[in-house]
Symmetry: D2
Subunit: 461 residues, 4 copies
Amino acid sequence: MMANRDPAAAMSAAPTLTGGLVGSVLTRYWLDQDAVRHWSDRGIVGAWVEVEVALAKAQAELGMIPKAAAREIAAKASIDKIDMERIARDIASTMHPFVPLIHQLEEQCGAEAGGYLHWGATTQNIFDTGMALLLKRARPMLLAHIDAATSALAACALEHKDTLQAGRTHGQHALPITFGYKLASWLAEIRRHRARILRASRDAEVASIGGAIGTYAAMAPQGRQVQEKVGALLGLGSIDNANRASADRQADLVNTLALFAATIEKICEDMLFMQRDEIGEASERFHYGKVGSSTMAQKRNPSHAMNLIGLARLLRSRAPVAVESMIRKDEGDGSGNNVMDVVLPEVSILAASLASGLARLIEGLDIDAAAMRRNLAASRGLIMSEAVMMALGPKLGRGVAHHLLYDAAVESVRSGRTLAEVLGERPELADVDLGALTDPARYLGEAADYILTETKTAVGE
Amino acid sequence: MMANRDPAAAMSAAPTLTGGLVGSVLTRYWLDQDAVRHWSDRGIVGAWVEVEVALAKAQAELGMIPKAAAREIAAKASIDKIDMERIARDIASTMHPFVPLIHQLEEQCGAEAGGYLHWGATTQNIFDTGMALLLKRARPMLLAHIDAATSALAACALEHKDTLQAGRTHGQHALPITFGYKLASWLAEIRRHRARILRASRDAEVASIGGAIGTYAAMAPQGRQVQEKVGALLGLGSIDNANRASADRQADLVNTLALFAATIEKICEDMLFMQRDEIGEASERFHYGKVGSSTMAQKRNPSHAMNLIGLARLLRSRAPVAVESMIRKDEGDGSGNNVMDVVLPEVSILAASLASGLARLIEGLDIDAAAMRRNLAASRGLIMSEAVMMALGPKLGRGVAHHLLYDAAVESVRSGRTLAEVLGERPELADVDLGALTDPARYLGEAADYILTETKTAVGE
Amino acid sequence: MMANRDPAAAMSAAPTLTGGLVGSVLTRYWLDQDAVRHWSDRGIVGAWVEVEVALAKAQAELGMIPKAAAREIAAKASIDKIDMERIARDIASTMHPFVPLIHQLEEQCGAEAGGYLHWGATTQNIFDTGMALLLKRARPMLLAHIDAATSALAACALEHKDTLQAGRTHGQHALPITFGYKLASWLAEIRRHRARILRASRDAEVASIGGAIGTYAAMAPQGRQVQEKVGALLGLGSIDNANRASADRQADLVNTLALFAATIEKICEDMLFMQRDEIGEASERFHYGKVGSSTMAQKRNPSHAMNLIGLARLLRSRAPVAVESMIRKDEGDGSGNNVMDVVLPEVSILAASLASGLARLIEGLDIDAAAMRRNLAASRGLIMSEAVMMALGPKLGRGVAHHLLYDAAVESVRSGRTLAEVLGERPELADVDLGALTDPARYLGEAADYILTETKTAVGE
Amino acid sequence: MMANRDPAAAMSAAPTLTGGLVGSVLTRYWLDQDAVRHWSDRGIVGAWVEVEVALAKAQAELGMIPKAAAREIAAKASIDKIDMERIARDIASTMHPFVPLIHQLEEQCGAEAGGYLHWGATTQNIFDTGMALLLKRARPMLLAHIDAATSALAACALEHKDTLQAGRTHGQHALPITFGYKLASWLAEIRRHRARILRASRDAEVASIGGAIGTYAAMAPQGRQVQEKVGALLGLGSIDNANRASADRQADLVNTLALFAATIEKICEDMLFMQRDEIGEASERFHYGKVGSSTMAQKRNPSHAMNLIGLARLLRSRAPVAVESMIRKDEGDGSGNNVMDVVLPEVSILAASLASGLARLIEGLDIDAAAMRRNLAASRGLIMSEAVMMALGPKLGRGVAHHLLYDAAVESVRSGRTLAEVLGERPELADVDLGALTDPARYLGEAADYILTETKTAVGE
């Protein structure tokens, strides 16, 4: 699960001449290496082989093909013996992404058994079921990263349950919070995403073996049974509606991961702000030797958060095209398939990279409680104006109290004095304990309770 | 040129025939009028009034404000007495969308009770809870339209359970289906969307009264209780995490509606194809007097389907910006709010319009079974080549059978003869019943079963 | 539930306080009121009337229709006499957005001349040419706002040519700049957008009167001449290719406005940062009475910048759907038209609102040079490390110098001392004038020259 | 230029274990192999080396670094000697995409000269200028493919100048056209895109060597001169505004390529329709041995067009995220850079693949003029109703004529008789030559002229 903790080792066999986000050495280190490997050509083609084997087994059990053929197929068909270089050449020459594999599998299994490979199936059945299998196996990797992130968030939230910080809205000091409250709010979003991802992913983890057009025509009346058995053999469900023009489950999953990405982007934007020189409330752990700039020796950039923001945007950009790819003609449409078959591995890799990256980001935070306190004071107590207003409200009325505080705030800004100083001059407040009223630690509402509740519920499924 | 330097003055002369998708008479007729009314200014402001009343009631029950004040507020505060023209003017002059309403409500309730309006709340609490309330009430309208559509689809699918049609993939004849099978597949997608919408909508239907920053600071330690009571009074849930920077539930709902839109767009694209002059398999009901073109008298355009496609695209276009609006700074960020507050009414109106439009489209279909049969014959029986291959497979081996059919297909295209004619000349097929093998009605697989199952499950929640 | 079954009836009670971004009083004040009026129903329908009049004139000049008819049409046809309420009702009942207008124009012109209205044209010719006319007239309004913004930027850039500020990359202090340099960089982007908008807008300002299918069949062999004359009469160009399935010019314009929006969003994000309590380098002008929050009396929110960010995102969200709407079937496709006819007015209004909003934002800036200086010092001189490194480079070599500065930066962070203090202890730097080397004012490069150049080129077309 | 005519050979050295659109053997064959190679890691890093060499040369000419150092750098620094495996490892361990290259270059050049590498520059200067260089060199490849496509379109348009076809709007027969007219309309869009691409690409082909923050601080007062010289050495322009937070030129280029993609998608959608079994007007050339389906032997899929549609959608999906990446903080922001550095190679590869694919698609078209004629007849002459109406208009008035044709169309649909037969019964049309009026070949308007004009202007720049 701790996959990309040592990216260098993982990259050792990385090719140097290719490109693209996943293939290029210039960008590949942004990504979770387990996820990259999972979705490599060998990983994908391997899943197809598994589906073909399961199909033969299922059909043999139902008497649709000879039992001996299925045994032979199960024994001989193997991704390990597939010549991927030859696959590459044959795909390029036939312009078909699947037939070259079938040819090698037929050779592996011999003429007799090989003739029963892919029986009654069409290419997309294998692709769709293979995709479901890969998604299912990607899921625990993703969830483990998410759980690492939520654990880190929960631990940090508890640790900083009482660490005062300025709460800000519209970029301005609003009310005091604790840093733990901020973390618990992040945690809550991530927790909701986890549940969404679990649901959407399970919905998409279904075998789909409806044949050329979804009617099981070549396997009737046992088609749906074959599909169910294939699903059971692979640990997948069985699709209710096997037509090849429906991609709503897959688009739903992409959308769900896009929501998850947006939250991580939000968190990282907050991190960038808190790490700014003038703020300094939290920063990515620095170690001697880390270089921020080829020319500016002092730079301690929030590189990790910036990387995650870029990845999150790339993930989000896949959602609209995935949704658009649901719009398929008639009973099947290759344009839509092509897009979805490219997008799903990308978003799965990106989501895993974001989740593991978030875990590392939170685990590696340097937090400066003193800076938080210093910044909280930057608005000279004005951040406490609601607290004072609410205290005066019952006496003066809410409107009058708002007006009084408004004037005090203007005066504080004008003169540079604190809110307490300005208010202290008002005779009508003579009997009010301004010290207590303007103490941020006393105006945290139910934040601590919430942190306790949220960190408790942060336990999975 | 200095147009909006004085917006208040500019607004006073605002045209009654305004513009925009919702406001313009040129486009408004595309939309579901109930939904338009639901999300009108009066509808939205009315929801805010309800939230303020519920807030006062809840606080009075908890002893936070005087019971008499709450009673007065409940008795006096009313959208019916709100002067919307004055609201319009005051918003334009204050540049604040909410304070003008509070002023009128204070006048309605009198100084005494009015002073307890909006107690401990901030504008966005009212907006968010009001939005939840409006979404909750929009939901049954939307679901009723969806149910009308699924009923129409189910009825039509059953009626055409045995109506033969060419199944097509990649725009080419693939295998035969029935028209009922196509309809049942559409139905299945819509059914899945209904469940998604129900879930996502309920998630978003929560009261959120966390105060200025989500900590209930001004209402502690009873803040969460107030929120729960407000929720109960309005038929809403109570948000788990009241921070103002989380919009994942709302973005999830927008995404879910975008998926729904994509399916309707897919259906309408299929409709456009089936209505083409050369296809003529299904068309929008024509009535004498309907005009397709100002210059081409013969035009019977699929206007309704085209309109729905346009609306679906507009809805889909809102998803990325809604997801992006989740990325909010700190504890609250008006940029994100502004976007979401504009997008949610739009997508709710668009979704209702799409759902009711789909119902009418399906209810108003003219179906031409003879055309379907004629088109099915257009590929001269080639659509049956898999059927023949599967029958020959066990004898000849799947590969050889595929090769034989491939050659036969080439010859059929070359000579213009049917597949049966070409195959009839092959001596090795002398004992095969080609008539039966090339009869589309005998190669429908498990389509009929599926239609029966799907139309049965098409019953709600 | 059966809401839009009878849209005509439903429309009769249409609320005058409608909804939607443009129509709602809750959002309309965000928008440039001139632009809203320009794109109102009356504005759009008025443009169609002008096109019909120009068409008749052009055809009469070419002898295609009687000169008397054209004179009558020019004299009688007028938007001022159009009953817009009746148009609204008739559109809702006929479900056609144009035929109701033609009927009123025929009545205005009488049977004789009215029979020559819309001669050889189809609805979309009028819509497309009317859109071109409205875009052309919107252009000077937009450019004037842009020019106001660039003037304000140029003036402010010159004023702050020497106002020191921390230059930041990746959220961290990098090198010193002047505030004028930042402004000049914004100005440069806006200037480039102005040129792009001018080009794309002109490309789209073309009459397109190709008849039902773009071949001028009903006006041949004088069709293209008619189109040219119509263009000349309306101040438009004449489209080279009149087919109705091409929308690349319009999509190009939308894309161009989206780029413009992104720059304004960038500027406003910078403004939000500079206005933060801890930064305070620049802020939106405050006036006594402006209310930031209904509960926090102290709030001075960057409301204007936040509004503009929301509008910019809404504008950007229209680009993908505009591009998608270029994908039109055959020789014409209503789905694409519908979308584009909705999107173009929206983006035009949004762009005008952004441009005028930017002008006001810059004109209304409060700039705090002292805060800029204070923040510049926040990194204890580390912002000058490149300057020192470059000075030492020739002596020590660039690599060694980078290393020396790196260590000094680490020490400065550890000890809280300034860079100059830390470096002052190094014997090898004994003869170096550290005071001069760490003076930000001496390391501004060619910033001042650039500001002078950029502000000079900021003059139009 | 004929790059991907033999993809198999090009792929021979392709790695088999990677993934992603560009890297995977399952998708890479969709892409133009020259473009893939151009944007490979070796291609990109090679461009960076060239920029470093040019920088040293320029600085030596201006006396900024020793001439000998620049000579040494020019002589020694070479991509051919770069150990890419080591780069990969070092990037993964340092997490910096550029510093590992500098280290190898320093070793290549020796301590003396190596110390003057990258003088006064920052990483992004090299990345941005390298990107400009790669874009500049990608341009002629792209334009050559576009020119091949426009040549093919022009030749085909001339060949089919008089080939009758049904013109269709909203999916319905509208007026007759020629197939050449359709092709010329496609050609016109492509021609306009060519001009846009040329402009946007040139705008982006600029050296940008502003140093850490765009002010040329480390090279003042000769910074801009260095940049100009670097540009001249590499055949690039010199950026007007070197700040690192501006990406409008690059986003503009991405947008422009997205428009281009949309047109190709439109063309391919038309192709899919024309190749349908029931239509058969045009199809992708079939050759014996091409396999459409692993199970349906008869399938002749429009695989090429479908592939291009998928690629076009993927390209379009990059536009919004490119525009969003313009929104960069302060004077530089790695999140935006990261996204743009990933997107630009992708869209450049996709655009080249689309352009070369379009050329091959048009060159490989099988056109069936008989089918076009047959389909034209499918609406029983109703497609000529405008022609008849326009002929009757002057006599009967346009409105009456429209009404007469409307009734005739209804009767034709009801009875299945042709428009001419139905009209022949009307006594008021006794003296009208209905044969001539309903002859599609006589109602082509100015289509032929347009084809001649358009094919003439289809010559470059």
